[in-house]
Symmetry: none
Subunit: 412 residues, 2 copies
C-alpha cells in the first residue's frame, strides 16, 4: 500500500520549524508494516493544489497535514473537495464545537473561524479536542486515494493519528501480519552502548527487526517481530541492560517514579538550584502527582539555600554552592523542612557563565536521601551541553537516581 | 527563482532521522530572498529518478541531497547524467582524493568506492573535505535547471552549502533586492483574532507578504517586504495589537520578562501550585536569570501553602485552594517570605480530576503583586486543555501578567 504524506506550511520551507510530522508518522506507520513512499512539503496557498493532485495518481493513501485553519491560505479542505468533485457543506456538529470552544474562552465566533466547519460532502469528521479545526477522512474513490486531512499543530495531530488514522490504516492494511512491537525505553545508556551490548545477539533472533529512537536525554530501542522473537529479544535486552530499562509500555521516567512512590504510599520533595523547578515540573506533569508530591523548593540564590533548607552559610563558603557537600545538605534540609519520605537535591553550573577549571560549566551534584538514611547518596555528573539540554539531563538523572533507589538497583 | 529540494534516504521516511537539511537550507536561502518552493523526500533507489524528472519541469534550481555514495541504490549522479543527456566520466582529481583519503585510514580503494569519482560530463566538482563523495554542480541547460547534488551527511553538506552553493545562488539571484523579514511574537491573542484585526489593512500594503506561525501557547505573524512595507506594517500591527506584542526580535516571553527586571535591577519570586515549578523553570531557562530570580516555592499541598506562604488554613477552608482569595494570599505571602520586588502566584485545577460545576477542570487564578501594592492583582482564567497544555498556558499567562505590570499596560 503506497502512502504519501504532504506537509503544508511556509514555516517548514523557510527553516522556522522542523518537520516532526514526518518522523512521527514514519515511525508509527512502520509499526503497521507500512512505509511512506514519498513526502512533499509545500508552502501555504495554491501549491497545495498541485501537490495533492499529483499525489492522487501515485498512492492509495494520502495524508495531508496543515492548511485546515481559518485563514485564506488554508486551502487543504477546498482542494480535497475539488479533487473529489464534491461540495463543501457546513457540519453543524463542528460549528457548534467551535462556537463552544471559543465562547468558553470568551472569544467571538466569526465567519472566518467558521470556515473550519466546512467539510467535503460525505467526509468523516475526526474530532479535535485540542483545537478548533477538525481532521477529515474521506475513503478512496475510483479517482482518489484515501484522504486523511490533519491539523498542523503537533499536539492536535498526534492524538488524532493515534485515535483515528492508525486504527483505520490497520483496518485497510488488513491482518496480513501486523507485527508486534516492543519499545524499550532506557535512561543512562546511549545508542552506541545499546548497540554494542545487544545488536549482535539480537541479529540472530529469526524475524526480528530492530531500530533506535534517540530522544534528547535518552535512547530507545524498538523491536519488531512475532511473539517468539519478542520473547527471545526481551531475554537478551534484560540480561544486558535490565537496570537501564525505564519501561516497555511507553511510560516516561516521571510516570514510573510517581507510580513507584504511589504504590508504596510514599512522598518526595525537591530542592533545586540549577534545574530551577524543572524536577518538580515534570513530576507534576503526571496526573495524580499530588498523592506523592506536596512541595518543592527552588533555591537559586545562596541565601535561599540557607533560609529554606538550613544549608549553613559556612558550608557554602568553604566548598562552594556547587559541591557534593552542599547538595547533601540541601537534600537533608529538604527532608527535614518537608517531612516527606524522600528528598532530591541538585546544584550545578548550567552556564553559559560561572564555570572554573575545577568545576567547568556542566558540572552538577545530585543528592537523594530517604527518611532513616545515615547520609544522602551524592553523585557528581558532567553534562557539558547547552543550558536547556543541561537542565533536562540533570532533571532526568535526579529522577533516575530516585528510581534506582526505590527499586534497590545499583546507584551510579 | 523557483528552488526545489529533493532529500533522498530511507531513514527520513521511517522516522529514524529528522530532515535538518530542509530547515538549514530553508533558513539560509531566505536570507538571499529565496524560498524553497517545494521539498520532496524519497527512499533510496528508483523513486529518486521520478522525483528528479518531475522537478526539472517546475524549477530553475534543483538541490538534491544524498544518493551520492558508493552503493547500488545511490543513483543521484546517474539520474542527473540521464536527464542531462551526458555521459558519466571518471574525474581523475576526485579518484585520487578518494584513494588518498582511504589509504590514510588504512582502507582499500575498490571499484565500488570509485563509483563516487564518476561525474556527468561538464559538471563542476565541489570539494568535500569531510567525506569521500564530492558534490556536483551543473549549470542550467534548456531542459534542466541548475543542479546542485550534495552529500547526505550534514557535516559534509553544510560546509559545501556555505562555500559553493550560497555564493553561486547569490550570483544567480542577482541584486534584485533581498527582502526584510519581521517576526511579530504575540501572547494572549489567537491566529483568528490577529487575522481579523490586521489582515485586511496589511493586504493593502504594497509588496508585503504575511504568514502565521502558531506555537502551543501563542501565535506569531511574519511580514516579508521592503523597508517601506515594513514601516507601514509595523504601524498597523502596533496600532491594533501593540499590547500583545512580546517581541519583534525573536525573544521569548521569559527572555523579555527577565530583561525588563534586569534593566530595572528588580527581582521576582514564584509561588506555584498547579504549574508545579514550571514558571520558575522557564524563568531559569534564560541565561543570567540568577540576577532577577532567587527563589521559588512549589506549594502543591495545602499545608505547604500555609507552612511556606502563610496562607491561613481557614481561608483555604472557606474559599477552596483554587480561589482568588488563596491566589492573592499566596502572592502576598511569597513577597513577604522572599523579600523580592515582585511575586507571582498561581492556583488552579490541571485535571484530569478535581473539577466541579463552579470550578471546572481548567480553572485557574493568577495573582501578581509588587512591593508597595495595596493588594495583589488577581485574574481568573479558564484553560480547558490537557494537563501539559494547561500548565504551559498558565505559566505563560502568569509571566505575561507580570510583563504587562512592568510595562504599565492594561492588566487583563
Amino acid at each position: 500500500m503506497r502512502v504519501e504524506l504532504i506537509n503544508t506550511g511556509d514555516e517548514l520551507l523557510i527553516g522556522r520549524v522542523v518537520n516532526t510530522h514526518l518522523t512521527f508518522l514514519g515511525d508509527r506507520l512502520l509499526e503497521l508494516g507500512l512505509r511512506i513512499t514519498r513526502q512533499t512539503a509545500v508552502p501555504d496557498g495554491s501549491e497545495i493544489r498541485d501537490a495533492m493532485a499529483e499525489a492522487c495518481g501515485r498512492c492509495e493513501v494520502l495524508v495531508v497535514t496543515g492548511g485546515l485553519g481559518p485563514t485564506s491560505d488554508d486551502i487543504t479542505r477546498d482542494v480535497a473537495a475539488e479533487l473529489l468533485g464534491r461540495a463543501l457543506v457546513k457540519d453543524a456538529g463542528v460549528a457548534e464545537a467551535i462556537g463552544d470552544r471559543l465562547r468558553a474562552r470568551g472569544r467571538e465566533c466569526t465567519t472566518t473561524t467558521l470556515r473550519q466547519a466546512m467539510v467535503p460532502e460525505g467526509a468523516t469528521v475526526l474530532g479535535n479536542p485540542h483545537g478548533t479545526a477538525p481532521g477529515l477522512y474521506v475513503p478512496a474513490t475510483g479517482q482518489t486515494p484515501h484522504f486523511f486531512l490533519l491539523p498542523g499543530p503537533p499536539r492536535e495531530l498526534r492524538p488524532m493519528v493515534e485515535d483515528y488514522v492508525l486504527p483505520e490504516l490497520r483496518r485497510l492494511a488488513g491482518d496480513g501480519g501486523v507485527p508486534e512491537v516492543c519499545h524499550y525505553k532506557f535512561f543512562g545508556v546511549g545508542e552506541s552502548e545499546i548497540s554494542a551490548k545487544v545488536e549482535a545477539p539480537l541479529s540472530e533472533v529469526p524475524g526480528l527487526q530492530i531500530g533506535y529512537q534517540v530522544e534528547p536525554t535518552n535512547a530507545n530501542l524498538r523491536c519488531i517481530g512475532d511473539r517468539d522473537a519478542q520473547v527471545a529479544a526481551r531475554e537478551i535486552v534484560t540480561r544486558s541492560l535490565g537496570d537501564y530499562i525505564i519501561s516497555t509500555d511507553g511510560r516516561s521516567l516521571e510516570e514510573v517514579v510517581v507510580a513507584l512512590l504511589d504504590e508504596s504510599g510514599q512522598t518526595v520533595a525537591t530542592a533545586e538550584s540549577c534545574t530551577g523547578g524543572s524536577i518538580a515540573d515534570i513530576i507534576t506533569d503526571v496526573p495524580g502527582a499530588s498523592r506523592v508530591f506536596r512541595r518543592g523548593f527552588v533555591t537559586y540564590a545562596n541565601e535561599a539555600k540557607s533560609g529554606l533548607l538550613f544549608v549553613p552559610a559556612d558550608l557554602i563558603c568553604e566548598h562552594g554552592a556547587v559541591s557534593g557537600q552542599v547538595a547533601a545538605a540541601m537534600a537533608s534540609g529538604c527532608l527535614e523542612a518537608s517531612g516527606d519520605d524522600h528528598a532530591i537535591a541538585v546544584t550545578g553550573i548550567a552556564g553559559p557563565g560561572g564555570g572554573s577549571d575545577e568545576k567547568p560549566v556542566g558540572t552538577v551534584f545530585v543528592a537523594v536521601v530517604s527518611r532513616g538514611d545515615a547520609a544522602p547518596h551524592v553523585r557528581r555528573c558532567f553534562f557539558p551541553f547547552d543550558r536547556l539540554h543541561f537542565k533536562a539531563s540533570v532533571t532526568k538523572t535526579a529522577l533516575d537516581t530516585l528510581r534506582r533507589k526505590l527499586l534497590n538497583l545499583d546507584l551510579a
